[in-house]
Amino acid sequence: MIRLEKRRMPSQVWTWAAPVVAVLATMVAGGAVFAALGKDPLVAIRTIFWDPLFSEFAFYYRPQLMIKGAPLVLIAIGLSLGFRAGIWNIGAEGQYIMGALAGAGVALAAYPLEAAWLFPAMVIAGALGGWAWAMIPGLLKVTLGTNEILVSLMLVYVAEKILAAMALGLMKNPDGFGFPGSRNLQQYPSATSWIDQAAGLHWGVAAAFIAVIAAYVLLSRHVLGFQIRLAGQAPRAARFAGVNTARLVLFCLGTSGALAGMAGLFEVAGPSGVVSIDFNAGYGFTAIIVAFLGRLHPLGILLAGGLMALTYVGGDMAQANLQLPKAAIQLFQGMMLFFLLAVDVFTNFRLRINLRGAA
């Protein structure tokens, strides 16, 4: 009889070993898939995990990892606060879109005015856009007890339709020959979020790092962080301890919405540049995975975001250099996530092999 037994304390060893074991397991299983497709598994795995960091052109790929990882980390940090408190915002994708639309809307309305206040105004608008979109499930939850998982998910679809309508209508580039998509904000100096493009540095990257530190401080030092953890681990105790649940729900949803909205704004004003029909590349959903891979811990999220970015950047390299199909990369990512999620069980549980039970 093999069964799981809960540990009294999360295992220190497994906290660190689990991700390593999972990544190694993925390499073995993924390597088998690559080999089945007729590619050298060692080369494929080196291309995905090693080349972006240490190959000849790593000077270019390292900044790209930051660009790809920043929105994931920024959104995941916001989500992790709520997830810790048992508040499930899975609509970050929608908040990301609405933030981008609100922020880009400010810039497009002001075009071609050049002013120092413009970019800060866009950031605020972006944050407000995401915040407002997250407030819908938030307010419904605190006033009526409506399930926030489902409302936030539904609002993703609504946001996607609004995005398409905007890209085809109101925000369409008047100089774009009727093609869908807005003006390119990269070519609008006051509105761009780039700090140093070659270094891969835009305000979104800066914001991601700030968010990691802020979340760390909040969770370890601030009373609100204590309340968040308490509400997640022991909801009843939290109520006795005088935690205002409604305020906590609004705070968590609002913060995650605002961060997702800002991530959208930084993306549209920087790396992406245009509001296009499918501008959202799934960052909001991937960030949920990143939050859990990082165990809802700010530093863990930073690492997980980096790892996700690595598989994206390395995956594209493997496609071009080894002619691996995109599908193989998706499969590989899916496997990695399963392994990472599954192996985590050993942090909180231990395997008990009960020989007598079997006999």
Binding site: K6, I162, F292, L331, L341
Partner: protein
């Protein structure tokens, strides 16, 4: 009049994959598990069913194997969430990624291949009734299967002892465990059933509704099915009705466009989701809602 008949008949076709996937997910969620991987399981069903139908020449065998394919994929989710106790939201999202990748790999070489035709399921005599005939009795057999499945799940959940146990597990897994029910086993069974249904729904698209295989061909239908479960308030008959409304909106939209009526397409396209939110709000106002243990992990010792 003819257009109305067409819309109504068409509604069932659009509703069928939604119904199949959503009914399966209803059972899963009623057992307290939130599996967001419906899209991944559907596309797996779509390709497995397609491959089997093409290679064996039997679309029926294709459907059966599609259900098996969806179930197989769902068992990965079941293992990760029920045995290894991983977070369900993250695992479901990973499942979709995994399914999309695997199906595309399997499907290489099946592009442009035509599957064997599925026999039309006109019901003798009844099919000739004016108005109702074309709407209800000239559909393909899977439409009837979807309707039958909806009713069967309704009866199962409402009247059977096993259904009662399943609901108990979804509402309060600790209490159910205390009463001696095997929470994990019941949930794994529910997840497998959900996977099979989603696989069937996917195969309906690749074998009957389109019929062909193309990468990513479910194009978001699995996500709509998730919305549908909520829309139907976790009640099978309402879920089935909701599928008809969702399918109907699509049918009306396309028909009006074809008839040259200018309609705000984007507004109409977002209406199902807005209505779903409204339903959620109303339900929470009258204090009925999601299964209480939805999405929460369960371990016997905790």
């Amino acid at each position: 009049m003819e257009m109305l008949i067409n819309i109504a008949a068409f509604m069932f076709v659009a509703a069928t994959p939604l119904t199949l996937a959503a009914i399966g997910e209803t059972v899963v969620e009623r057992a307290g598990v939130l599996n967001l991987g419906v899209e991944g399981m559907m596309i797996m069903g779509a390709i497995v069913g397609f491959m089997v139908a093409v290679n064996s020449g039997s679309p029926v065998l294709g459907l059966v194997m599609a259900a098996a394919g969806g179930m197989g994929l769902s068992l990965i989710f079941a293992f990760v969430t029920q045995v290894a106790l991983a977070n369900q939201v993250a695992s479901g999202l990973a499942l979709t990624l995994f399914g999309l990748g695997l199906s595309a790999l399997l499907g290489q070489g099946y592009q442009g291949v035509k599957p064997p035709a599925f026999p039309q399921g006109d019901i003798p005599l009844l099919a000739d009734i004016p108005v109702l005939g074309p709407i209800l009795f000239q559909q393909d057999p899977v439409v009837y299967l979807a309707i039958a499945l909806t009713v069967a799940v309704f009866v199962f959940l409402r009247f059977s002892r096993a259904g009662l146990v399943l609901r108990a597990v979804g509402e309060n897994h600790d209490a159910a465990h205390a009463l001696g029910y095997k929470v994990v086993r019941i949930r794994i069974a529910a997840i497998a059933f959900g996977g099979a249904c989603a696989g069937l729904g996917g195969a309906y698209i690749s074998l009957i509704r389109v019929p062909q295989w193309t990468e990513g061909m479910t194009a978001g239908i699995g996500w709509i099915a998730l919305a549908l479960v909520v829309f139907g308030a976790w009640r099978p008959l309402l879920v089935g009705l909701g599928a008809c409304i969702f399918g109907g909106i699509e049918a009306v939209q396309l028909n009006l466009q074809a008839a040259g009526v200018a309609i705000p397409v984007s507004l109409l396209a977002m209406s199902p989701y807005l209505i779903t939110i409204l339903v959620l709000v109303i339900m929470s106002a009258v204090r009925t809602g999601a299964p209480a243990s939805l999405g929460r992990p369960f371990h016997a010792s905790s």
